[in-house]
Subunit: 336 residues, 2 copies
């Protein structure tokens, strides 16, 4: 095995086959992948599926709490989960820069494989392309995913109603601030770690215990909690009022945001779940989220109100109210 | 609308939303996409589906006969089709370089949308990331796809048998030679055009008319016909003997390959289908392929023989026999 990625690893010839066998198949261990056909065959037991795709271009590739490999799996698992679908199958497509260290690639691929196992999904199809040095930045990774929707499951922005409570499963801003600190070599103090994780355990218990009282869910990634709430509120034609004192922010992220002049509501997350739940089931839903792994900081952070569609307001700790703007440009490129 | 892609177009904020609405939704016009959820919900009428993913990094982005947009749709449609699955849904994920001309992006997106319509597939989910100038080369495009497998359909390398005839639906090498000429500014004469196209019309008619006599199929892309045959023959544990005189090569590609010292069997295609068919149905299958659009040059190019597994030999026009090697390195990076 070579120690660096060569252009020939993308040729479709014997070098491609070697890379596939030595790096990818070893880590994924999927019987569908081992068929080596151009497509995976899957048996679906329900007649409704969910389908999603996302590319990951995060820089740096490895960071406290995770790397591009596990993060891409979690991200795609989460996009299925917030639709109420049980994540099942993943396609993983790598674009590699010529000269990439094979050891780094192996770490990333193994991390993706491990994350997939722990999420209960199978990587069943994939692709690898290699571009000349300087034409990409080390590794870009696309993950697409298929999940299965139960017959009873109905979640979506169209089910949001005035009076719904807004729940969050933990602290905001951890991923974004961690990447920023890692990239710029900032020593911000405290224990900064990406929150990259699957939200499916929380989602599945919510659906089990609260059923159709769960109206809509999102995983607030790029653009942060603010973006996710804006999108949902706009689609639902409602406004949302948040209680600043109820939104969990870790001390490390809080002080980093103060130093850097950032609003933690606009900073990216990779393992957070925001759920709109009927008011009468909100306490039960909170209990469920708190019981989930890493869910001890879960909170009811606000509620749906009638008002200009898409408007998100924040009741501040000192008693005032401010509008939470939708981020226009970019806090930081390549956050995910 | 800006005329260039900005980093903020990848932020997840309002600029991202503008790009989505102005460029992507306009072109795709999919009701699932218009839901603007993070995943598409799909109803499957059969309980077996196929799933595939591929990234496209072709350089140049536009070339005679096509562009990265339509090519990515055709490529994913073809990976499903050769598994015997009717292509249905596509996810399209773009990685864009900051500063990219929006007009170019619009042409590519429209071309993808047009190809999808003409293939009868729907683009139901997508993603866009933007990386700083110099960190990617204009546009990389990942397409993932889902197809539906009929209950009776059984194709795969494991069904290949000694005596099977090998069929091809047209000339080889057109795509690779076209890209090479376009990139290097070579004037090779003749009418060089990429063969990018869907093979599903040919596949569906083959399955309809020849049923289970169709044992296995591939679309010979990177690595050319040689790679596709090697892969299938190795998986099936057989050898293949080709008749050089029967393999269609256009005059333009033939003379270009002579000048450049290339073997047309190793040059990439993007609209070719190679099918292994039971001998007694081979003439019927040939008739079907010849009747398909652009199929007039279809031919029976060889047959499956017992011999060292994976060995591909060529009976030359002058009566000799040579082994067709599997390409090791790369003829040309970024061919697809």
């Amino acid at each position: 095995m070579n120690e660096r990625v060569l252009l020939g690893h993308g040729s479709g010839g014997s070098l491609s086959r070697d890379l596939l066998k030595d790096v990818f198949l070893q880590a994924y261990a999927s019987s569908e992948l081992l068929r080596l056909e151009d497509q995976a065959r899957l048996n679906v037991e329900e007649d409704r599926i969910c389908f999603t795709t996302d590319s990951y271009v995060v820089d740096p590739l490895e960071f406290p709490g995770g790397d591009i490999g596990c993060m891409a799996i979690h991200g795609t698992v989460n996009d299925l989960a917030v639709g109420g679908a049980k994540p099942r199958w993943i396609g993983a497509a790598f674009i590699l820069e010529e000269g990439l260290d094979i050891g780094l690639l192996e770490r990333i691929v193994r991390s993706a494989a491990k994350a997939a196992r722990s999420c209960g999904v199978e990587i069943v199809t994939g692709d690898t392309k290699v571009v000349p040095a300087g034409k990409a930045d080390k590794i870009f990774l696309n993950t697409s995913g298929i999940g299965v929707l139960g017959r009873e499951t109905r979640v979506g922005a169209d089910r949001i109603q005035v009076g719904d409570k807004v729940l969050l499963n933990g602290t905001v801003g951890d991923h974004g601030v961690t990447i920023m600190a890692a990239r710029e070599g900032l020593r911000l103090g405290g224990d900064l770690r990406s929150d990259t994780a699957s939200v499916w355990p929380g989602v599945s218990r919510l659906l089990e215990r609260c059923g159709q009282a769960v109206h809509a869910m999102r995983d607030p990634t790029r653009g942060g909690l603010a973006s996710a709430l804006h999108e949902l509120a706009e689609m639902a034609g409602v406004a949302v009022e948040l209680q600043e004192s109820q939104i969990p922010v870790s001390p490390a992220v809080g002080s980093a945001c103060e130093i850097l002049g950032l609003d933690p509501l606009q900073v990216a997350n990779e393992g957070k779940l925001v759920a709109f739940v009927a008011a009468e089931s909100a306490e039960e839903a909170l209990h469920v989220l708190k019981e989930t792994d890493r869910g001890e900081k879960a909170a009811i952070i606000g509620e749906v109100v009638s008002g200009p569609k898409g408007r998100i307001t924040l009741r501040t700790e000192v008693g005032g109210t401010r509008v939470v703007p939708l981020l226009s440009g970019d806090l930081l490129p390549r956050i995910c």
